[in-house]
Symmetry: C2
Subunit: 312 residues, 2 copies
Amino acid sequence: MRKKKILLLSGGVGGAKLADGFAQILPATDLIIAVNTGDDFQHLGLSISPDLDSVTYMLAGLASAERGWGRSDETWSCIETLRRIDSETWFQLGDRDLALHLHRSMKLARGTSLEVVTAEIASKLGVRHKIVPMTEAPVRTIIESYAERYSFQEYFVRLQCRPQMTGYRYEGARWATPSHGLLEALHDPELAGIMIAPSNPILSIGPILAIPTVRDAIEKTTVPVVGVSPIIKGAAIKGPAAKILQELNIGASAGAVAQFYGDLLDHFIVHPDDAGAPWSSNAKRHVADILMQSEEDRRRVAHSCLALLDIT
Amino acid sequence: MRKKKILLLSGGVGGAKLADGFAQILPATDLIIAVNTGDDFQHLGLSISPDLDSVTYMLAGLASAERGWGRSDETWSCIETLRRIDSETWFQLGDRDLALHLHRSMKLARGTSLEVVTAEIASKLGVRHKIVPMTEAPVRTIIESYAERYSFQEYFVRLQCRPQMTGYRYEGARWATPSHGLLEALHDPELAGIMIAPSNPILSIGPILAIPTVRDAIEKTTVPVVGVSPIIKGAAIKGPAAKILQELNIGASAGAVAQFYGDLLDHFIVHPDDAGAPWSSNAKRHVADILMQSEEDRRRVAHSCLALLDIT
């Protein structure tokens, strides 16, 4: 049996970049991206899956490079009008983005699974590789700040990550099972490696690993588990990862993230600037330029990951 | 008690023009427009009230004159994207229009009444006069064509009024009660007259009159009931009224419409071209130019209506 398939665990924008790197290299059948749904939420009656959409837009070549989120060629007529009628406008809804939320909400209400809707949308937008939600279950990431509890979007969008994070919970994760696609990938005899994207360990990867069947399968897998550091020289490439890792006393360093993933991890790729930093994780440290700005960067980082696998 | 208030029963576009005529003349406190909701429907999970929105856009100065429906300064990014992902696109949803549907759906789902949401939206868009739905109840106009039954939108939008109409029903009307605003207006001691807009008698005015309390109040009212003909020389000014009136053997003439309204009607204003046509209605026929193309036309027709009242 040829081992050649890659499973990537991914959050939104950062993960989407590595997903794109793999998608540039691997045939459609050899890549599956399992995406965090802990940030999914209801807004204006719509079912919104921000990370799934970020990965979909990136692989469809529709992600906005300038804005860093959402899609390119976007217009904002609907939210302008919502603002005019004093409706809820704290969440930025582009007109084209809205179409996905409307379609997904309608399909989910009719009983279609999130996995099927996600696959249909991605396919219509020209994505060839497989994007699946981590689960169909309503896992919700909750941010704790002393006595306060915030939903992900409240914390991330409305409060712009200002509250000090003192804890977190993945509500519903304990009872969640992986989506069909993710479960199948975890046990696929052709699986060559499991990749952990340089996404936020707490907010993006944590929810995926909190699904008992997923964690269990990754603990027991015989294929290499390879992570890419979301932290370079103590700072996050994007987003609040460094702040959160510090607030939770995990430490804002590549080494601390590797330790956070613990025995799940076999290999961890860090930036050259972090090559000499203290290292106490059991995972093997590898050094590569992991900054992903251009399409070529993304391909290069994907190649660095694949180089650690024994693809036959 | 000064009798000076006007209640206008209205459908969408045609009714909205007369509403605008009155709104140009009357102070905000002296006009209430009760609008058909028999065409309201759910689409992509949204609660859509086409006639309420048409009247709102018209009075807000936002109606598209070129298109004849929807609003001006509209963009179409969302529906373009819905088309790209093969979603439901038979109903034209503009991006700005969508904002109203999203906001209304959210508010209704939270238990706000359609009357309150309608008032809030209209007020935010700068409308000063009162626009109310005919009822909060789910009255639905059903078009019968031999053995087939169609919802209004199926018939009107999807099938473009092609099926021969052999009958109709206002589902739910029997158990519906008028909205607070409409009920209050019907019994307002200051009411000077009830106006029936030149809207489709079957599809737009019929559902309002099918609410038992409304019909009863109009039958018993002591104030004049004044209609404006939607038919000029056997043709509808807009829409399928003439075709439908013929198919139902009511007859596509101003006189036939007056007879259709029966004893509810005291006065009926017809176009000069219909001044000499046979007349067998008990309502008094008045002749005036009832074509409304410009803002001035609308004001003129409103004045023709008001001239028949005894405003003190």
